[in-house]
Amino acid sequence: MSAAADTLQTAAVAFPSRAWFQQLADLMNANRTRQEQLGYVDCIAQFTVLDGGADGGPVAYRVTFEEFSAIAVAEFATRELGDADFALEGSAATWREMIENIAANNGRPDLEHSLNRLSHMGTPFKLVAEDPVRADAYFRFNQSLQEFVDASAQFTTLFDH
């Protein structure tokens, strides 16, 4: 981990929250060398917690990736795609299990908890997109997206549920 990334280690961050995804974005942006190895990421990815909203409804976090950076993180109280290329939807319990597994394995999930493993059969994660070309962005940038969530092992996550 770079010195810059070291300094980003903060107190525990609640999940789901905009701050949690912003923390991932900050970690990604602090490690440009790794991003340059992985290559450009140009997409808007939405991460949806189907029952993560205050009322038990959906809450979505839309992360805009451009070139080697995550340039914006926004929160929406809906599962609508908006301008996202695709959404990865799952329950709070699924998200929690994945995040805890990544942390327990020091930033690399075990065989059963990678993004693709959890989404390939449409359950427990589901990939949603309005057209297949935009859905393919999830695959084109899969390694980068995996490492984006793997960075959650670098800080402590608090779960409300």
Partner: protein, 397 residues
Amino acid sequence: MNEPVRIEELKPLAEPYLLKEEQLAHYEKAYRSDYQAWAQVLGENVERIRRGSYSLHWLNTDGGHWGKRAKPSSRGLTYTDINRVRGYGDIPAQADWMNFAPRGSIREPYRDRMPIVDDYIVTARDELWADNVITLYEEAKARQWNATKDIPWDELEALPEDLEKATCQLCTFLTEVEFVAGDFPAKWLYRTPQDFLEVKSFLATQLMDEARHQEVFRKRAIAGGGLLHASPGFEWALKAILDAPSHTMGTFLLNLLGEGLVLSVFRAGEMIAKTQVDKEIFRRCLQDEARHVSYGVLELKNYLATHPDRERGVEEMHRFADVGEQVILTAFTESALVEPVAVLLGGGLKQIDKGMEGLGHMWRVFIEEYLQRCKAAGFDRTERCTIPLDLPWGVAA
């Protein structure tokens, strides 16, 4: 120790190495007798040099676009950036420069003295173009990886024999099929005039991607026990791709259908991987494959959208797909593919039946995705798809 072999004792080769005499003779005749223009150019050049005379014609910018400088964007200087400069980004609907003269250069004065490359037969832009091709080219360059050092090979763990054999058989299949996605673009790359440089550049990245895929699966198999069985069904599907009568038809069969299926295999491979090494391999490969699929969808979309007789163009594609789907199905029903995937899905040879259930689900997902991609390209195969929507496993039992 064996006696050293002396050169004079070596037997002559049965046939000339690599070359047939008539091929060389044909080349000699063509360039000594048939073609005159190059000899005239050479003569003029030699005479000028012997005179000690400069031409300096290349300083004349008439007919060119001199002085308009391209400016880089945030990520460097891309094709999009240089195509914004007037005179360089006009991609002709019909190419008529059948040689290497660069698009945007001062080339017209020399047209009559330049050779014609007979192999350049894909002269219509809309037989090749896709709106995402420049983006995908930049992305492909930025997301290259190295199968030698980017995979954590030293973490490769020995698996139980049934799982290892299933993994190695899957890798044998992928080694067998991957390079057709290199040979096919290579076949059309050299048939494409230079004015379509953006597409040629993207096809070159696809070639590199497929070389790497063939490499990584060959390495994985040989590091895990060995290559296993090749299959006739794979071979017929690959030949059908190479034999496609046009670039668009072959791109449909390879990039949209074939690589769409292989993308599903990669995603499944990552899902059922039994080691972190395999997970990393499949994840890296599926990224590359998804680029090829994206090109295939938008290339077909552009082809049909710009076809002068769209109805006829669609019907020709349907006729081709009616055959192509069946030949591709030959590969994807081979036991040398279906069974190892089922073993990996189930978790072992004894759980192969459970694995076939999972495969049935994946089959449905794949067919749905294939039909969605066709529809996104403006090519609705819903009513004509010849691949069964459900895996017909055991229906006759």
